[in-house]
Structure formats: C-alpha cells, structure tokens
C-alpha cells in the first residue's frame, strides 16, 4: 500500500535540479512514514486479540504448559530479530507449513506488505502481552468473583470487569507493541526484504545509509525519532492518568 506523492512540476536549471532531489527526499519521507505507521497499526490490530488472550491466560489460569507458553511468547525479545525473521521465512515460505496452508487460498505472505505486518506483530507481541498481563494481575480477582455471583457469565465478566480494570496495562501494552512495530528491522528485512514501495522506516534508513544518501537517511531518522517520542510520551501519560 504505497503512499504516492505527486512530483511538483519542475523545469530545468540547477535550482530546479536541487529541488527535484529535495522533492524525492520528501516523497520518500511521506511514503515510508505513512507506510510504516499504517503497517504498525495493522500489526497492532493483528496482535491484540491473541495478545490479550495470552495475557489473560497467564494472569488468571493455571494449566499444563503455562511456563512454556510464558517463555515462548517472550522469546522474540531475546532471540536475534534476524533469527526470528528467518524462522518466520521458513514457516511462511511456499514450502513452509504455514505458507503451504495459505497458498491454496491465494494468500502470499513472504516479500509482500503482509510479511511486514507478520514480522511487526510477532516482534511487538511480547511487549503487549507483558504490559497487559500486568494489568490483569493488578486487578483484584474479588471483583470478578462478585460479578459472577451477580449472574455474569465468564465472557461478560471479562468484558465488563476484567478488561476495564486492566485498561491501563492494556493501553500501555498497545502503545509499546505499536512502538516496537514501528522500529522493527531484523525480522522485517528477512521476511519482507526491502522492496520499493514496501519499505519501513528502519529498512529505508538502512538502505539510504548504505548508499551514502545521508541527507535522506537523516530525514527519515527525524521522522522515526518524532514517532518514537510521541509514542513513549503517550504511553507515559497513559500510565499516570486514570
């Protein structure tokens, strides 16, 4: 889903030449930033349902394999992202177990924008789960028990009591997961490559730096810092406000 920016109608001349270059930098900035934010938002939506479910399970239920699940979900935090990306590539590739399942449905993940979403979601999930789980753990279980005595079935207790009481953790986790998705590099480059039109901020910064286009790289870095600042600021505010 590339965001296209109209080239300003420039004519010849040196100044125009310069403006053309500047225009290209601006176009890339808008395209890459828009694409990254959009992909991170989609990835956040994708990771929310499983993330909240796992967080709730870890906070509220005892079951065999709980410790394994707990460790497994946190794994992307400690395994090199490039390794996670390679594992995802093997899973979602045409011959991979998940890729083979999706291919008959006409869904191709690897080296498309969907690969960007998958990489971002997997890498953001641990942070979402951690914060949300803490939110659930801080909520007094007594409220849930009393809600049940008032006739509320488990699903209603979850939506009307557990989730609202855990909302701070959930909000913080969502912002953290989103921020992690914005900054994702290692897994993305393995699974999605660096196709033009499907480049995230990190990938575009890397490419520009590699090609010696420092000005372009610096512009993108400014965008990345701005988004990161806004996200952390928001998450801190959410942490202190009721």
């Amino acid at each position: 889903m590339p965001v296209r920016c109209k080239e300003p109608g420039l004519r010849g001349g040196r100044a125009d030449e310069f403006r053309k270059e500047e225009g290209a930098v601006t176009a890339e900035l808008v395209e890459v930033t828009g694409f990254t934010v959009l992909m991170a938002a989609v990835a956040t939506l994708v990771m929310l349902p499983p993330g909240v479910a796992v967080a709730w399970l870890l906070a509220r239920r005892e079951f065999p394999g709980r410790a394994v699940l707990e460790t497994f979900v946190s794994l992307p935090l400690v395994v090199p992202p490039v390794a996670t990306g390679l594992i995802l590539l093997k899973l979602f590739g045409r011959r991979g177990p998940l890729g083979a399942l999706l291919e008959p449905l006409g869904i191709d993940i690897v080296f498309t924008w969907k690969a960007v979403v998958v990489a971002m979601a997997v890498m953001g999930l641990p942070l979402l789960v951690r914060a949300t789980r803490a939110g659930f753990e801080q909520a007094d279980r007594r409220y849930e028990a009393i809600a049940a005595t008032l006739g509320a079935r488990p699903w209603r207790v979850f939506w009307t009591v557990s989730l609202p009481l855990a909302r701070r953790g959930l909000l913080a986790g969502t912002v953290l997961g989103f921020s992690r998705a914005i900054g994702e590099f290692g897994a993305t480059i393995m699974l999605a490559g660096a196709l033009p039109g499907a480049r995230t901020l990190s990938v575009a910064i890397y490419r520009n730096a590699e090609l010696g286009r420092d000005a372009a790289a610096m512009t993108l870095i400014a965008a990345a810092v701005t988004i990161g600042f806004a996200a952390v600021y928001l998450s801190n505010r959410l942490g202190t406000a009721s």
């Binding site: 007594r142 049940a148 005595t149 008032l150 509320a152």
Partner: protein
C-alpha cells in the same frame, strides 16, 4: 423459591492448608447468623455457598435447588446459583458509577431472559436525565428493583461515583446490587464491621427492612452480639471450622463471652 419454608443445607468438608472446615447444618430459619472468632471458617462457608470455593466433598442445597453435590458431580457455577453475596470489603466495581453497580446483576438476569432488554435500559440510563431511578424502561416488570432502591434509599445516589460515597452509602449500594438479582439467598459478611457505632444503628434498620419486606433468606456473618440479636432468628457458633453450638440467638449469645 420464595416458599419461605425452604431449608438451607450446608454439609461440606473443605481443606485449605492447615485449616479444615467441617459443617453439617440444616437451617430452617429465615435469617441465620454465623457467629465466631476470626479464622473460624465463616467467610469460607459463605464462599462455598456462593460457589467461589469448591468444597472437597458434601452437599449445598437451598430448598430443592442443589448447588453442590460431590457424589452426584453437581457444582453449579456461581452465575447460576442465584445467591447474592455482599463481601466484607463490598467489592463495589470502582470503574462503574452507582447506577451501573446496582444494575449490574439486574442486567444479567434481564440479559439471560432476552438479549435486547438491558441494552435499551442502559442507553436510557446513559442520557443523564433519569426519569425513574433505573432510567428509561425500568418500570413494570421490575417492581422488585424499584422497591429495593426505595427500601435502601439509593435513588439519590444513582449518578454518583463509587469513590465519593460514605461508608454507610457504600454498604447500601452493595446490598442493593446483591438484591437486584432477586437472590434465593443473601450472604452478608460482617456487613456492619467497617462502620462506626452511630452508622451501624442507621444501617441496621435497612437490613431489618430487607428481611421483613423482601423476605429474602439471609446468612449473616458477624461477631457483634447486638446485631445478631436484632437481625437473626437462628445462630450458629463456629470455632476452628466446626459448628460448636446452634440455636436461638439469645441462648447462643448468653453462653458466648
């Protein structure tokens, strides 16, 4: 289940660490006090009756309604027991205002009967201009609800936040919330413990009204003799997880220091 003559059977064995509860009581009275020192198993008993704690074995029954029977493999989940519970800490939902707290259980019953009912009422409650204490759509079928609110004088509190309530108001809101489910049995855990003496005397009449006008059977946990004498017509004295005595409150309390 409004028969009145229905007896409550609490016949349970439950082990939790060093503590063991072993009760074999059949209660015919309308208002029963569980009396005894802390750690004697009063709250554990209430939790078991409400379905929040599973006994190792035994039977819990209200009239013919079997809530738990280990031999027959029956363990009715708390949301189907129709047992109202006012815990000692009240557990008013902090993220909901008084109206939503009070209607939480009433809504659950309505939602169980027909899905559309409560969402309409909720919308009516949201517009901030309550025509009746329950908001739009509460009249008629919910006569009990209206009388609960009247009885406990909740009407004026409905739009308040739970944080801003006084101790006595919180108590009344918690009581109303439990009664709005139209329970077969009401469990009260030290309902007056957190209140100072003056306030106790103001809340006690509310409890008496609930007992006399709604006729809801109650199990009342307390260690205050005055309360038990006023509210209960049967008392069971617990010690270390066992019932050591039971009988008319006056007799029980005389032999208790």
């Amino acid at each position: 289940m409004s028969g009145g003559e229905a007896s409550v059977v609490i016949d349970v064995r439950l082990r939790a660490g060093a503590f063991a509860l072993d009760l074999r009581e059949t209660i015919a009275a309308r208002t029963v006090a569980l009396f005894g020192p802390s750690g004697s198993g009063k709250t554990t008993t209430l939790d078991a009756v409400a379905g929040l704690r599973r006994p190792d074995e035994g039977v819990i029954r209200i009239g013919r309604h079997v809530l738990f029977d280990s031999r027959r493999g029956i363990d009715v989940p708390p949301y189907e027991r129709r047992v109202g519970y006012v815990p000692q800490d009240l557990a008013l939902f902090p993220h909901l205002d008084v109206r939503r707290n009070v209607l939480y259980g009433a809504r659950g019953r309505a939602a169980a009967g027909g899905a559309g009912g409560w969402s309409l009422r909720e919308r009516g409650a949201d517009d901030g201009t309550p025509r009746s204490p329950l908001g739009a759509g509460s009249e008629g079928a919910h006569g009990t609800h209206a009388s609960v609110l009247e009885l406990l004088e909740i009407d004026t509190l409905m739009s308040r936040s739970v944080d801003g309530l006084s101790g006595g108001e919180r108590q009344r809101v918690a009581l109303a919330r439990a009664l709005m489910t139209e329970p077969d049995l009401l469990l009260l855990d030290e309902p007056l413990a957190a209140l100072d003496l003056g306030l106790r005397d103001r809340i006690l009449p509310y409890l008496e009204r609930v007992r006399d006008e709604l006729g809801t059977p109650m199990i009342y946990v307390s260690h205050v003799t005055d309360e038990v004498r006023r509210v209960a017509d049967w008392a069971i004295v617990l010690d270390a997880g066992r019932a050591v005595r039971s009988g008319a409150p006056a007799e029980m309390l005389e032999s208790t220091p």
